[in-house]
């Protein structure tokens, strides 16, 4: 399969990010230079301003704008922290260095800009995301990595010291960590024709052992529970830039179902960001109806599971596709849940040989 690059390259994205940060700095600088107290406006992230937009199939922020003014005694400290965070992010991005949220918290102290706690520094980074529209990963601020990818995709590094080097993601049988170096790389080529995202690392390893990537010509991704933002963003790039359809396999319970939903429709917490979700991705299982059809060993739903199902039933993201409502009702009817490993009752390879082809077939 040939390379199909349709979207701006990662380097262009970097330039956009740096440009956005510089614009913010210039904006503040010019206001100060004119002798006025600088103001920054940004969309409000309060709950009443978070709406679901069926067109983009994700949560978005509404019209409400909050203003942060350095004239206000209560604003001047967060304003300064924001200016610092922008400057720090700019340094990270231009110097191609990476950092973590914890790192940000400590780095501030070098500038005598001590944050009261981690939460305060996290909030400032979220403010910066909201103002610029870029996610913190774009500023090179990453969380702990815990997801991995495996399959026939060749990437070209852009990180310092590796420029020009390429890697085929089948080169290591444990998969390759979805970290800054990977997410900042360009796609060179791939023979895969689909992406399979898997909730749990154990099943991801089983799929590799069972050669699923070859049998189904797929890129395999381990989400490690709720997929980190950079993994969600990477899945979107695979879908957008390489036009690969995405299939998601999770546990058969409300929590697994929602892991799939966040990959598809994003989270309310990231309503201020775009390009983290993959609206065309598909939840392939384990469905409640699979539990019945495959007679899977189950556990009873407990109280929180049931409560979660009722919440999800009302969630706007679950209104798009009748599949979701049907599965929620089925869970509530059978009052049982099953893990992905439950297929092992039919032997270790059953899930790969029987279940997976059937589900992929069913969705095609």
């Amino acid at each position: 399969m040939v390379q199909k690059k349709t979207k701006p390259s990662i380097v262009e994205k970097q330039n956009e990010v740096v440009g956005g940060l510089k614009k913010l700095g210039t904006d503040i600088y010019n206001q100060l230079d004119k002798g006025i107290f600088p103001t920054i406006n940004m969309p409000s992230r309060s709950t009443e301003n978070i709406n679901y937009d069926p067109n983009v199939r994700q949560y978005v922020l509404g019209e409400k704008v909050v203003s942060r003014n350095a004239r206000n005694i209560r604003h001047v400290k967060p304003f300064t922290q924001l200016a610092w965070a922008a400057m720090f992010s700019n340094e990270l991005t231009t110097q191609r260095k990476t950092s973590t949220l914890r790192d940000v918290y400590y780095s501030a102290q070098a500038y005598e800009m001590t944050f009261t706690d981690q939460q305060e520094s996290n909030n400032i980074i979220t403010d910066l995301e909201t103002i610029t529209g870029f996610s913190r990963e774009d500023f090179h601020i990453f969380p702990e990595e815990r997801s991995a990818i495996f399959g026939d995709l060749t990437i070209g590094y852009t990180v310092p010291g590796y420029e020009g080097k390429t890697l085929n993601l089948t080169s290591h049988p444990d998969g390759v960590l979805v970290g800054p170096a990977l997410t900042s790389s360009e796609f060179v080529n791939t023979k895969a024709d689909k992406v399979i995202a898997i909730e749990k690392g154990a099943l991801f390893t089983r799929f590799i052992e069972e050669n699923v990537h070859n049998k189904h010509n797929a890129l395999l991704i381990s989400c490690g529970g709720q997929a980190p933002r950079q993994t969600r963003s990477f899945i979107r790039r695979l879908n957008e830039e390489l036009n690969l359809p995405v299939y998601i396999f999770t546990d058969g319970d409300p929590w697994g179902m929602h892991i799939a939903m966040v990959i598809i429709s994003g989270s309310a917490n990231a309503a201020h960001l775009r390009n983290l979700n993959t609206p065309d991705a598909v939840w392939s299982g384990v469905w409640a109806s699979d539990i019945i059809d495959y007679k899977l060993p189950t556990d009873p739903l407990d109280e929180v599971d049931v409560k979660r199902l009722y919440e999800l039933q009302k969630d706007p993201r679950y209104q798009n596709d009748p599949l979701w409502q049907r599965e929620i009702k089925t869970f509530l009817k059978i009052r049982r849940k099953a893990e992905q490993e439950a297929f092992s009752r039919y032997g270790l390879t059953y899930i790969v040989d029987e279940y997976l082809p059937a589900k992929l077939e069913g969705k095609k």
Binding site: G25, F79, A83, M87
Partner: protein, 509 residues
């Protein structure tokens, strides 16, 4: 004073047997009281001729006495008026003899403090006392070696020397030995000197303790308060004994004259009206009054409503300036307010309350108010909780004045009167008399109100400082960060913005 055998005892004997009531209750207390009594006499002696006092006190170790007590030699030198040689033996060797039986404000009340100290020294060490004095007018200095004949209340002169006064020295030196416990008394003694310095800012006090340590309290001013004038007794304050004495000494031959010449603020008209009120003929000879008539006269004096209140010319308050100087000198507070009440009276005795309230600076933070109590310029160091000022201070609603006990606050209360309403001979605390309590409470409100204003203002200033502090901390950084982010070399000038914040702050007040 009668026992089963109806034996008469002398005044010395009485105090010898009951030395507790004069404060000599234990070895540590005794050494403190001895120092205090002699120093007070010295201060009085200097003030009586308008001389800023210089008092030098030396306490030196002589020998061990018991397990807990030692023998000390106490020497006190002053630059006071001095005592004429013929009065020296009685002044120091006879209890209840003294110059303090007229009605004016003095430190001592009973004329026995100094003598009690000598008496105590004699009974604990069996050694003679030395008194050296010169009035400065003569060219001689007289030095006496004395003991007290306790049973007969008479001085015994063991030796008498006359020296040539070449330098025109004036003053008195008292030196005697006594048993005591200095180590235990030390904190109170040092506190006594500190507080005495506070309320006598025009005095130089020097104390050398038995370990050879020097404590020096230097005067902050040479201004002294107006000396008190002697005054006649006010009719409200007399008792039968005083009436009888006055009748005995009077030259007057009729009641009208008698009342006019021996009582404070009684004139022709007042005397006439009062005699009418009590049914006595104005022409009656006071010396002819029967005992019953004298008792009735005393009772009528207390009942009669129209006597003019006593005036306060016989009082010598410190005054706001000196009180301020004294408190500033010893506490160096951040904020101080002093105030003096108008004179008031209780039972025919005029009195004046003065108060200072000091905040911050050198005022210690103890978790409760530090209270300095003074009566006729004597520090009161014991039984604080029994004192009327303490009760007034603790029952006050301080929250109304934005004051809380954890603030560093010292309250200085000075009451001066011709007769301080002490509860005991030991002169430690003031009785809770309605008139005194009311004056203290009103005065406390006055100074507390001013402190409250200060604290409110302070709060504003603090808030404002904090506000400006926040802007001056953050605005320069916004400028620095944004310049770097925008890629500019020049950092924008934020002085104007900082100024506007200050201006705005000023308007807020």
């Amino acid at each position: 004073m009668a026992t089963a055998t109806f034996e008469e005892i002398s005044a010395s004997d009485f105090f010898y047997r009951n030395r507790d009531i004069a404060g000599f209750s234990n070895p540590s207390r005794a050494i403190f009281v001895a120092i205090r009594e002699i120093v007070e006499n010295s201060l009085d002696a200097a003030e009586s001729h308008r001389m800023p006092p210089d008092v030098y006190v030396r306490l030196s170790f002589e020998s061990e006495a018991t397990k807990d007590t030692q023998i000390y030699k106490l020497r006190v030198e002053d630059n006071g008026s001095g005592i004429q040689p013929r009065f020296i033996p009685s002044a120091f060797g006879q209890v209840l003899y003294g110059s303090k039986y007229k009605l004016k404000q003095t430190r001592g009340t009973f004329g026995l403090g100094g003598k009690m100290a000598l008496l105590y020294g004699q009974i604990t060490t069996h050694q003679a006392a030395f008194v050296t004095s010169s009035t400065g007018n003569s060219s001689k200095i007289y030095s006496f070696k004395l003991m007290i004949d306790i049973q007969r209340n008479r001085p015994i002169i063991l030796d008498r020397k006359v020296l040539i006064n070449k330098d025109g020295w004036r003053g008195t030196i008292v030196e005697f030995t006594l048993e005591g416990d200095y180590l235990r008394a030390m904190p109170k003694i040092l506190e006594y000197f500190k507080q005495t310095a506070m309320v006598n800012p025009y005095a130089n006090l020097t104390f050398v303790d038995p370990k050879g340590r020097l404590y020096k309290f230097t005067r902050a001013t040479t201004d002294m308060p107006e000396p008190p004038r002697e005054t006649l007794p006010h009719p409200y304050g007399v008792d039968v004994e005083l009436l009888q004495r006055l009748i005995m000494i009077t030259q007057c031959t009729n009641m009208l004259m008698f009342l006019r010449s021996h009582f404070h603020r009684v004139g022709e008209i007042t005397a006439q009206k009062f005699l009418e009120f009590s049914g006595l003929s104005p022409s009656k000879n006071p010396k002819k009054l029967s005992h019953e008539e004298i008792v009735k006269l005393m009772q009528n004096m207390k009942r009669y409503k129209d006597f003019l209140p006593p005036d306060a010319s016989c009082l010598s308050p410190l005054g706001e300036d000196l009180l301020r100087a004294g408190i500033t000198k010893e506490l160096n507070p951040e904020y101080l307010v002093v105030h003096q009440r108008k004179p008031s009276t209780y039972a025919g005795h005029p009195f004046i309350v003065e108060m200072g309230i000091a905040y911050g600076g050198g005022v210690p933070k103890t978790g409760s108010f530090v209270i300095y109590r003074f009566a006729n310029r004597i520090p009161l160091l014991y039984d604080e909780a029994s004192d009327v000022s303490y009760r007034v201070i603790s029952s006050m609603n301080w929250r109304r004045y934005k004051v809380s006990p954890d603030m560093p606050i010292a309250i200085v209360v000075h009451i001066c009167s011709t007769k301080i309403p002490y509860k005991t001979v030991g002169k430690e605390f003031l009785a809770d008399r309605a008139e005194v309590r009311r004056e203290v409470a009103n005065e406390l409100r006055e100074v507390a109100r001013q402190l409250g204003h200060f604290l409110t203002r302070q709060e504003h200033v603090d808030r404002e400082k904090k506000r400006i502090g926040i802007f001056s901390k953050y605005l320069p950084r916004i400028a620095q960060f944004s310049a770097k982010l925008a890629g500019k070399q020049r950092i924008p000038d934020i002085e104007k913005l900082l100024k506007s914040v200050q201006k705005y702050g000023a308007e807020e007040d």
